[in-house]
């Protein structure tokens, strides 16, 4: 809310610098977002109040006139002015040459220079609000109150500061100047001066003029109204318009401006009806009927339904309760008799109505934050007083007030013990009371120190329990002044989160394998779900009712599509280097049950994708190689180092992969995912045309069940040297590397064996492939002799031949 300091000063004395005040308010919970200064660059000598004493037409321009101005002390000036609203007798702000003004044409502050305009010398100008930096309306010059003395500097008269507060939803009381004044008073130890609101009334009673019936007291706990006859509708006086403008409201006419002014003053919305437009001299507060029509003041036709609350007369609705009035009873220049409303409407109903209608107003904003009903009669009387003073007219005797409860206001018991328990410091109740009193609290029984029953101020709707009172004390005392300690309570027993540990191990391994971690949005679209067939039935996908946009309208049932999208985006940015990306995150599967508290199944997955050269171009690697299946497999193998369970890869066929280039990955007996080359169709879809893309995706939930961190079992290294032989073998295509190695390592002198070369050249007969396997011979008991190794070698070759018909290439 925009709070002009000049207005705030009417209720509370302010001695601090505005920046200090803003800081104190912020620390105490009323955050000041910005401070705007009006007129801080004005020179007191060059911007002064003047009176228009003569006004003649410019000889050479129809739209220009030549006012002569009395600047006081006998000083006069004649300038050229184009403003249509200029008139003799007006008090205006005159800018002399050298004044610093806002130039709407250049959009900057500039120094005013004398000029000849159509042959007439003009040294100075008559200012508009815009040129003074006070408002946005450039319809003409700023006309001051006729009582303003001539010669006074604009700085003295008009300069001001406006603080803009950013309110938390619990403080509707600070949606008002008075509420803010109470806050300032509590922080600075000052008292608040309540505004004047007592008025003399005419010799007729309101009960004889109008009847009010509340049919829905739950949604309208209190309705107050006053009646004023014979008012004159005209523009508001300058000070009133000025206060509204600075608070961001547009002045309309005196009566409407007063309702807005008092709303800003008290935080209580008000509405004035043109009483003569009412049917039946009765105001009824009731729920709208189905499809009831109402044209609101913004000229929109609204279609209402229960339980929306309306203000009605005997034949139709005349306002949307707590939100906006209707055009049918709007105040206009012919209005003479006014029915003024200040009521309290239910917060939740106001909120659901304004949400349904998409109509957020100053009034609804306040009501939905649950303002106190006690404000209604106060604001009503204040506004009635102002209408009588400003618009003339005679108020009826008495007001309408439907509030009947006579119960005492709720009090809260506060104890030193509770203060200590929450704040960690023993606070004397005497010091607590000092702060509470400044905040406007009242004591139920005076002079009791240990236990006090306090009543929160009538403008506060956010204080209902003792801890709320403790916060009041703490925030005014200053959080930073409260003590600090470290947690001394006992540390609860920790439960090993084995799943997290395995996941973070895998994440670290992926990074150490040179992969870059990505995090994508948890959403996808139906097209992608169908493309990847990640769900058996795409209608099982979980849809978002109000998505950010259509491409994010479903929760992702798989991680891989998002990763491929990320890969494609990076491919477009970076063509030359290889890409190695992965993501670990949740995927969402349909609800398993259909009860009110059913939730979707959330599972963690790991997806990886690699493509392009295996290393970025550099000095030392002279051959660039495109990454292939075995790079991806290597990454997967690397991930599971340090985890229990055996990893195995079994050739398979899967939807999104290239045929013959995909393996199922097993951890022990659990199928945990696939690794393989992305199929042609998807490669084209994502425009990965140049290089193969190898992807893997793993079900982290399966992995968490199948494995855990494994501490390595030590085995003593042999003391004797090892030797090796490389066997170049020719095997038929259906014999894979794993089978060959398994056969070799069965030999008891072999400590290890692994493929080191794969050859598919002309020398290899059809249907066969050549593979070179290194065999490491080692014994724990002795250094092996050449003879022993030869013998083993022969045994291996024989068993390979016997088992698989494998021959040595160079035998």
């Amino acid at each position: 809310m925009k709070i002009p300091i000049s207005w705030l000063r009417e209720y509370v004395e302010i001695e601090d610098e505005i920046s200090e005040l803003a800081h104190s308010l912020t620390m105490a919970g009323l955050e000041v977002g910005s401070v705007e200064h009006i007129g801080d660059h004005w020179d007191p000598d060059s911007l002064v109040v003047a009176e228009v004493i003569e006004l003649i037409q410019h000889p050479d321009a129809d739209r220009l006139r030549l006012p002569t101005l009395d600047l006081g002390d006998g000083e006069k000036a004649t300038v050229v002015c184009g403003a249509p609203n200029l008139d003799i007798g007006q008090k205006i702000i005159f800018a002399k040459e050298g004044a610093n003004l806002f130039n709407p044409r250049s959009g900057k502050n500039e120094i005013l220079k004398g000029a000849k305009i159509r042959g007439v010398e003009s040294r100075g100008m008559v200012c508009s609000a815009l040129e003074l930096g006070m408002g946005e309306d450039d319809g003409g010059i700023l006309v001051l109150d006729p009582s303003t003395p001539i010669g006074v500097s604009a700085k003295e008269l008009l300069s001001d500061s406006i603080i803009e507060t950013e309110l938390t939803p619990n403080r509707p009381d600070c949606l008002s100047i008075l509420g803010t004044a109470y806050e300032v008073a509590a922080l600075t130890g000052k008292k608040v001066n309540e505004p004047e609101s007592s008025y003399d009334c005419g010799e007729f009673h309101i009960a004889d003029k109008v009847k009010v019936t509340v049919q829905d007291a739950r949604n309208c706990p209190r309705y107050t109204g006053s009646f004023i006859e014979n008012v004159t509708i005209e523009p508001s006086p300058m000070w009133l318009q000025d206060s509204l403008t600075k608070s961001g409201q547009r002045p309309i006419n005196n009566v409407v401006d007063i309702t807005n002014y008092v709303m800003l003053e008290y935080g209580q919305p008000l509405h004035a009806f043109d009483f003569d437009k009412l049917d039946g001299k009765e105001v009824i507060v009731r729920q709208a009927s189905n499809d009831e029509a109402l044209e609101t003041l913004d000229s929109q036709q609204r279609t209402l339904k229960p339980p929306m609350l309306v203000i009605a007369d005997t034949s139709r609705s005349i306002g949307l309760a707590g939100i906006m009035g209707g055009t049918n009873t709007e105040i206009d220049e012919t209005t003479t008799n006014i029915f003024l409303e200040a009521a309290n409407f239910d917060a939740a109903n106001t909120r659901s109505t304004r949400t349904a209608l998409g109509l957020n107003t100053e009034a609804s904003y306040r009501f939905e934050r649950a303002i106190r009903h006690e404000l209604a009669p106060l604001a009503l009387k204040r506004a009635t007083y102002l209408i009588k003073e400003i618009c003339g007219g005679i108020p009826a005797e008495g007001i309408i007030d439907t509030f009947t409860s006579l119960s005492d206001p709720a009090s809260i018991e506060i104890t030193e013990k509770r203060f200590e328990k929450i704040l960690g410091i023993s606070v004397p109740m005497k010091s607590v009371w000092e702060i509470l009193e400044n905040l406007g609290f009242e004591k139920v029984e005076p002079d009791v120190d240990i236990v006090i029953n306090v009543i929160p101020p009538i403008w506060r709707s956010d204080i209902s329990i003792q801890d709320d009172v403790i916060e009041e004390y703490a925030r005014i005392y200053g959080y930073d002044n409260l003590p600090t300690s470290s947690l001394a309570s006992s540390i609860p027993p920790q439960i090993a989160q084995t799943g997290q540990i395995v996941r973070e191990h895998l994440r670290d391994k992926l990074v150490s394998a040179g992969m870059n971690e990505t995090i994508s949005y948890s959403t996808t679209d139906l097209e992608t779900i169908n493309l990847f067939k990640t769900l058996p039935v795409s209608s099982d996908a979980i849809e978002i009712a109000n998505p950010m946009d259509s491409s994010r309208s479903f929760l992702r049932p798989a991680l891989l599509p998002n990763l491929l999208e990320t890969l494609a985006r990076n491919r477009r940015i970076e063509q030359q280097n290889g890409l190695k990306l992965f993501e670990i995150g949740r995927v969402f599967h349909p609800l398993q049950t259909d009860t009110a508290d059913s939730m979707p199944l959330e599972k963690e997955e790991i997806a990886g994708a690699i493509t392009g050269p295996n290393s970025s171009a550099n000095l030392w690697e002279n051959s660039e190689r495109l990454m292939d299946f075995y790079d991806a497999k290597g990454i997967v193998e690397h991930m599971f180092l340090g985890l229990s369970g055996n990893l195995s890869f079994v050739e398979t066929e899967r939807e999104i992969y290239e045929k013959g280039k995909v393996a199922d990955i097993y951890l022990g007996k659990s199928l945990i995912g696939q690794v393989g080359e992305l199929g042609q169709g998807l490669r084209e879809f994502y425009d990965f045309t140049s290089n193969p893309v190898i992807v893997f995706h793993l079900d982290l939930e399966e992995i968490k069940i199948a494995t855990s961190i494994q501490s390595a079992d030590y085995s003593e290294p042999s003391r004797y040297p090892s030797s090796f032989r490389d066997l170049a073998l020719i095997a038929s295509n259906d014999v894979n590397a794993e089978s060959i190695v398994k056969t070799i390592v069965k030999n008891k002198l072999v400590s290890d064996s692994f493929p080191i070369d794969k050859y598919e050249g002309e020398e290899v007969p059809g249907g066969k492939h050549s593979i070179t396997v290194r065999v490491i011979f080692q014994s724990d008991e002795k250094t092996l002799s050449a003879k022993e190794i030869d013998r083993s070698h022969n045994q291996i070759v024989k068993s390979l031949e016997h088992q698989y018909g494998i021959t040595e290439r160079y035998s």
Partner: protein, 376 residues
Amino acid sequence: MLCGIICAYICSIALDGIQKNTMDQDSYLKLQDDIEKEAVSDLTEIASLDDLESWRVDLLGRNGKLTGLLRGISELPVDSRREAGGKANSLKKALTEKYQDHKSYLEGNSSIGSESGTNSLDVTLPGRNIEFGTLHPTTAAVREICQVFESMGFQIIEGPEVELDTYNFQKLNIPEEHPARDMWNSLWIDRVLPDGSRPLLLRTHTSPMQIRTMESQNPPVRVVVPGKTYRYEATDATHEWQFCQIEGLAVDKDITFADLKGTLEEFARRIFGDKRKARFRCDFFPFVEPGAEVSIDCFKCEGDGCRVCGNSGWIEIMGAGMVHPKVLEGVGYDPEIYSGFAWGMGAERIAMLKHGIDDIRQFYSNDVRFLKQFSQ
């Protein structure tokens, strides 16, 4: 191993080459002396690797002078072979060392330093690539933050990303149609119950885990909950609709606002440096009372005011407060006995501050040029 094989090979050659002639010990030693002097004086003249190689072959090669000398040991009388052989061997060793030293010297690898010649290294060339991967900066921030709290005895737990309205709002003292709901614009799941309400949403904060934790265990409680959260919000440089939040909760018999201040101040120092001061101001969250916003003095300008802190000297890092008695009651903890504090912060915000990232949208653009900047 390869080295061992080569050595064995050389030895066997030497053994094979033994010749059987005779010679007296003095002339043998004289010959040894002469070879040494000549070799040493020649070596000082040598300025190229080629010349050095000839020198080596001439002395130590298969038909070299010294090799010949060694073979000649067998010509000596038996009783003097041992001494002569020992000397010849130490000469061989000495000359081999001299050869190595001179070679290093010529290659510009000498510790004495050398004129930059054709054989010296260009030390400005890049070293051989060690390929490295990167953690996403959000993950890295989450880990760093959680480690601090873990060391204070907090346990890391996680919770569902799709939540029930009950947990995301109602049990956190945010009833339906409460204006505080505007603080968390929600993405609702398209599921409507018979009463017309939508029960599921993408969680707008990690706070529902406060409830789930307390419902499932008795005090004392100390947990930290990192996780993805979602808001129906337009994105800009400081707002993302998806981000990572880290929630914390401590509940026990004697936990006070002073503990809240102490714990979170300690956190701020561990993350942003020992000199940091924390500032607490009153703020509002429906599930805490009193509520606070925690700021640190700006680490960039030391509180003088700069772009990072928006000229205020202070940077907001999280919201916090004492757990609201209604929340405690709701989970069956007696608020007369138990009290506690909770906090919530954005992992990306902490990462942005630490790395000087000025646009949160970078985090989910996943541009590798961004990701690769955060090597561990």
